[in-house]
Amino acid sequence: MAAESSLRTGRKAPYGLLSPGILWLILFFLVPMGSLLRIALSEKPNAFLPDYEFTWKWDNFSNAIERFQPELARSFGYAAAATVLCIIIGYPLAYYLAFRAGRWRSLLLALIMVPFFTSFLIRTIAWQTILGADGPALAVMEVLSLVPVTDAIGLTTNGAFLNTPEAVIGGLTYNFAPFMILPIYVSLEKIDPRLLDAARDLYSRPSEAFRKIILPLSLPGVFAGTLLTFIPAAGDFINAELLGNVRTGMIGSQITKLFLRESNYPEAAALSFIFMAIITVGVLLYAKVLGTDELAA
């Protein structure tokens, strides 16, 4: 609270400090959103002229939804699956780091970040190598004669790891896992150990202490981690292009294709806007359900 008392009520100084950054965000974040919406509601009156006319053409939106429904569904489905996997993989690890790692904690935390110093693309290409037809993953499964089993549970398709929806979800999970592990770790680490001592003194079973103390107190971390994983995963298309097949395309590929190759700007902008709108509504609903203001803090 000492910090609160030293907060000043300035008249001009804060605005002076803020102006370059805020101006930048207005010019290159808010204004572009406006021009995206504008193009999304425009049409091309003449196929031979480069000009677009703003005509409130809402058809662009319905057309985009109709045409790209499978991609939209896939993007959100894959991202949701990857987010759940990140929680399943990341929560126990974050728990281990917060409560069991002891003096190795700082080193282990730093190690989580090390793989992410290699480029996103190069890491994903490495997964191509690992999962590929001549790769180590398949070789191990073949030596153990487990390929029929992995085929049966859907981990492989016709004896291949690569170019499947599972590979795409795996890639998304891998690439965004640290964004789940670190926020959960931060929220677990903040828990006062005396609370756990108190629970033990009052004869709470460990599972009960976990359910009633640790889990609720770590929810803000899970919330932040979910947003940090789900949003970029839904918009990503690198994993889908490098690890998937023609039937695993996500919305990002379509938006890129419409913009940069087909130059169908109105429909591309509409699709982009729809995607943004769904994410925003989803985030707001999610924030309301979990009722945390951790995001703004």
């Binding site: 000492a2 910090a3 907060l7 000043r8 009520t9 100084a13 804060p14 400090l17 803020l18 370059p20 950054g21 805020i22 930048w24 290159f28 974040f29 572009p32 021009s35 995206l36 504008r38 990341g90 126990p92 690890l93 281990y96 700082s106 282990l108 730093a110 190690l111 970040m113 090390v114 793989p115 110093f117 290699t118 480029s119 693309l121 190069i122 890491r123 290409i125 490495a126 997964w127 190598t129 690992i130 001549d134 891998y174 004869y203 460990p206 970029p232 839904a234 918009g235 990503d236 298309f237 690198i238 990002g252 938006i255 890129t256 700007y265 902008a269 982009s272 806007f273 925003t280 995001l295």
Partner: protein
């Protein structure tokens, strides 16, 4: 009661061991691709794709910058990252100073505007910037890439610095002023050293984010400017030269070395 305590004591080590085992598995998973990247920097690829093991060689490391197109794109990426990190760190740092030290009208708007770019998917940020540059007839190239990178780094910088300076005792500044220090001297000798660790972390983060960005960059780079991730992605369908692995391993080495130096300095400070 006694029974449950005994049961707890017996169960605990097993659960602890399971947790440790899980941690080892997760670390193996996190590092598997990195092992592949580094190992394949010592591979002599049989064809155009350095994705299947052929034979051990040191040739790739002897000539890491053999591929001119790769090297050029790496230099472009380094330039973009340096420019973007420099501007974003200054602008974002000033924003953090304002929001963490002052109470003012419109603070809520500023906070929301700072967080929004982080909750917007890159594909939307990239495509909206594309429509802006297109509508204004601005040519795409190096400048538009830097503009875009500054934009997405700003929020990260503002929030990182804000988190670091939260709870600082700003009365040190008043003390300096009371003792006759000029505002600039106060900033240089009191404020700046206080916020420096946060600023350094934010600058490194910006640099790392910028150098790794593909999606936004692909929308605003145009035909003439190619960054390192763009070069790799464009090439990935036709070839993956071993130099990619060598350069990636070198970047990894530098990053780990920087981290080790940072850790060593903190250790020394803690001891002193």
């Amino acid at each position: 009661m006694t029974a449950s305590i005994v049961a707890t004591k017996q169960r605990r080590p097993l659960r602890s061991r399971l947790l440790g085992f899980w941690a080892i598995l997760v670390y193996a998973w996190l590092f598997a691709p990195i092992v592949v990247v580094v190992a394949f920097s010592f591979n002599r690829p049989a064809g155009k794709f350095n994705t299947a093991w052929n034979e051990f060689t040191l040739d790739n490391w002897a000539d890491p910058f053999k591929r001119q197109d790769l090297t050029d794109s790496l230099i472009t990426s380094l330039q973009v990252a340096a420019a973007a990190a420099f501007v974003a760190t200054i602008f974002g740092g000033l924003m953090a100073l304002a929001t963490s030290r002052y109470e003012f009208r419109g603070k809520g708007f500023v906070n929301i505007l700072t967080v929004l770019p982080l909750t917007s998917p890159e594909i939307v940020l990239g495509s909206s910037l594309f429509t802006l540059f297109f509508a204004r007839d601005l040519g795409l190239g190096f400048t538009t890439v830097v503009i875009a990178h500054i934009m997405f780094c700003l929020s990260f910088v503002a929030l990182t610095v804000q988190a670091r300076v939260r709870g600082f005792d700003w009365s040190f500044e008043d003390a300096a002023m009371d003792l006759g220090s000029t505002p600039w001297r106060t900033f240089r000798t009191v404020t700046f050293p206080l916020i420096l660790p946060g600023i350094a972390a934010a600058a490194l983060l910006s640099f790392a984010l910028s150098i790794d960005d593909y999606i936004i960059t692909s929308f605003v780079a145009g035909d003439a400017t190619t960054t390192f991730p763009m070069r790799i992605f464009n090439a990935a369908k036709t070839e993956i030269p071993a130099q990619v692995n060598v350069i990636a391993s070198m970047i990894l080495l530098v990053a780990v070395a920087l981290m080790a130096i940072g850790a060593w300095r903190t250790l020394k400070q803690e001891k002193a």
